[in-house]
């Protein structure tokens, strides 16, 4: 086994761990590379030991699954090579370039499973860069991994199931949830109900969170258009001005922190650098790596699983991780695993529910039409919506990479991770063109910022 070409799994969330487990089960010793301090990904993120809490407190209804993942991982550890806090900063054919701390190393690979996960999808609101304004994911991480809350009275703004979950978690943790402000109108169409109900326990939980919040006097408002995130003289956020869509009357709510999230956005830079094909998914309204149902990409030896290939949640991610690993094994051995069929069916079954969620919590593209010119769109470069609109207007360009070249949009430290989806909508609106023609920002190495000294020296075989 020692001389066999290495199989590398990138990402130790539900998909990556599940893939690693499947590979170990088939007698392999995969290399698992993860940026986190601990396995679990964002969803089952674990606090450093001094801040440890019970799984029930950390993960609520998901406690069992979280515990299973962590137990599974502990059992797996002797059979894999695990690199925590390790970033893939570049990739070339059959070579991953890794960085950990201030050291870099090269990791050869023959087969690769990408389980790179997702981050919050953001729609900027004027004032969104004020201290105290964070992503929904950040609000949850503060709670889960740091046993702290982002504020004492918090507004939750955005769209999607996570909004209600995090608001519920904050209320349980003793924060005052000022309001949950939903961009969509998820409870408006009864016709969506059957598809939503197909989500079973996941749907039931969502209903529970909403009912709980309502029962505890938390205002839940839908069809909201945020107008401005307000801040005090110290610069910190202290409120939100908003209105109901299509209505003139504006409301101001006070808070000391605000969490934003409009669903999730796949982290796809690594797949992009590897040359994987992408397609625009009209339901999720984002560019996603193209794979078959098992997670095979067009690039030989490259497989994808989890939210990094399509936003489907942690349960499907775990199934997809297993399926991708089985696909990899079957491509190696030429024989298909018997369980692959039932895993595929499980993924297909979940599709109806996901589609319903995607349509109920659709990305509020209108907000990019009405975003005031002075609002920042690119938080790294301090670029305003007006500046981007000017570039579109003056140059006549609607290709996001051309607009980037002219305006510095997405050229900062995050390389368009945060602003990308909203910027594409903004450009499409400004150019009166279809989002498809706007295209997508290209991934470029390094995948995340890396100091010159790290690149220059300290090549370490010991990572």
């Amino acid at each position: 086994m020692r001389d066999e070409p290495p199989i590398v799994v990138v990402g130790a969330g539900p998909a990556g761990v599940s893939a690693a487990r499947t590979l170990v089960g088939a007698g392999h010793r995969p290399i698992l590379v993860d940026e986190g301090m601990f396995p679990g990904g964002q969803v089952f993120r674990r606090p450093p030991s001094p801040l440890q809490q019970s799984d029930e407190k950390l993960y609520g209804f998901d406690a069992r699954r979280a515990r299973r993942l962590h137990d599974e991982f502990a059992a797996l550890l002797p059979s894999i090579v695990y690199h925590a806090e390790t970033m893939v900063w570049a990739v070339e054919s059959n070579l991953l370039h890794l960085a950990r701390g201030d050291k870099t190393t090269c990791q050869p690979w023959k087969r690769l499973i990408l389980a790179t996960g997702a981050m919050d999808r953001i729609v900027p609101t004027n004032g969104w860069t004020a201290p105290g304004v964070v992503t929904l994911g950040a609000a949850q991480i503060a709670l889960k991994a740091q046993a702290s809350i982002i504020g004492k009275s918090v507004i939750f703004l955005g769209s999607g199931p996570l909004l209600y979950l995090v608001a519920y978690q904050y209320a349980r943790a003793g924060a005052r949830v000022v309001a949950v402000l939903e961009a969509g109108r998820p409870f408006q169409r009864f016709s969506d109900l059957p598809a939503l109900a197909s989500g079973g326990a996941t749907f039931a939980r969502g209903v529970f969170y909403i009912a709980w919040l309502k029962a505890h006097g938390v205002p839940i408002k839908t069809g909201i258009e945020p107008l401005e995130i307000l801040h005090g003289s110290d610069g910190r956020t202290n409120g939100l001005r908003y209105r109901r869509k299509g209505q003139g009357r504006e409301t101001i709510l006070s808070c000391d922190a605000l969490a934003i999230g409009y669903g999730l956005k796949s982290e796809t830079q690594l797949a992009d650098l590897l040359g994987v094909d992408f397609h625009f998914d009209p339901q999720q309204r984002q560019w996603l790596p193209t794979t078959d149902l098992d997670g095979r990409s067009c690039v030989d030896g490259v497989y994808l699983a989890g939210d990094g290939v399509s936003i489907r949640g942690n349960q499907i991610a775990a199934i997809a991780g297993e399926l991708a690993a089985l696909a990899l094994l079957s491509d190696m051995n030429g024989s298909e695993a018997p369980q692959a069929g039932s895993l595929r069916r499980e993924i297909s079954r979940a599709r109806r529910f996901r589609r319903a969620l995607d349509s109920v919590f659709a990305f509020p593209t209108d907000q990019l039409k009405t975003l005031p010119d002075e609002a920042l769109i690119c938080r790294c470069e301090g670029l305003t919506a007006g500046a981007v609109r000017d570039v579109v207007g003056l140059s006549g360009e609607s290709d996001i990479n051309r607009v980037k070249a002219f305006s510095r949009l997405g050229m900062g430290r995050c390389q368009g991770r945060v602003c990308g989806p909203a910027a594409a909508e903004l450009i499409a609106a400004a150019a009166s063109t279809d989002i498809l023609h706007v295209g997508r920002l290209r991934g470029q190495a390094p995948l995340k910022p890396i100091a010159l000294a790290t690149l220059a020296g300290g090549r370490d075989e010991g990572i």
């Binding site: 001094p50 801040l51 992503t135 740091q146 910190r236 900062g412 430290r413």
Partner: protein, 80 residues
């Protein structure tokens, strides 16, 4: 210490949590007169990079506070 100001933290806290708890922000933004305090807390938005006083870089959301840690929002005068 950050920029000469003392801050305290619990064991297991990230630099981001500790600084936000103490000061409500972590750094000045380069291109406008505004403070930044991190955004995604998961190493994606890259809005919380700081310097140690010996010149190395840390991303506040993914670095645990260490005893006696000395940080700067502008080490060597290079931060802008």
């Amino acid at each position: 210490m950050v920029d000469g100001r003392r801050f305290s933290a619990h064991q297991g806290e990230t630099v981001l949590t500790a600084l936000n708890t103490e000061f409500g922000h972590i750094r000045d933004f380069e291109f406008r007169d505004e403070k930044r305090a991190g955004f995604c807390y998961m190493g994606a938005c890259q809005d919380c990079w700081l310097w140690t006083d010996s010149g190395e870089r840390i991303r506040a959301c993914s670095s645990l506070v260490k005893d006696g840690m000395c940080l700067s929002t502008d080490a060597l005068g290079l931060g802008r």
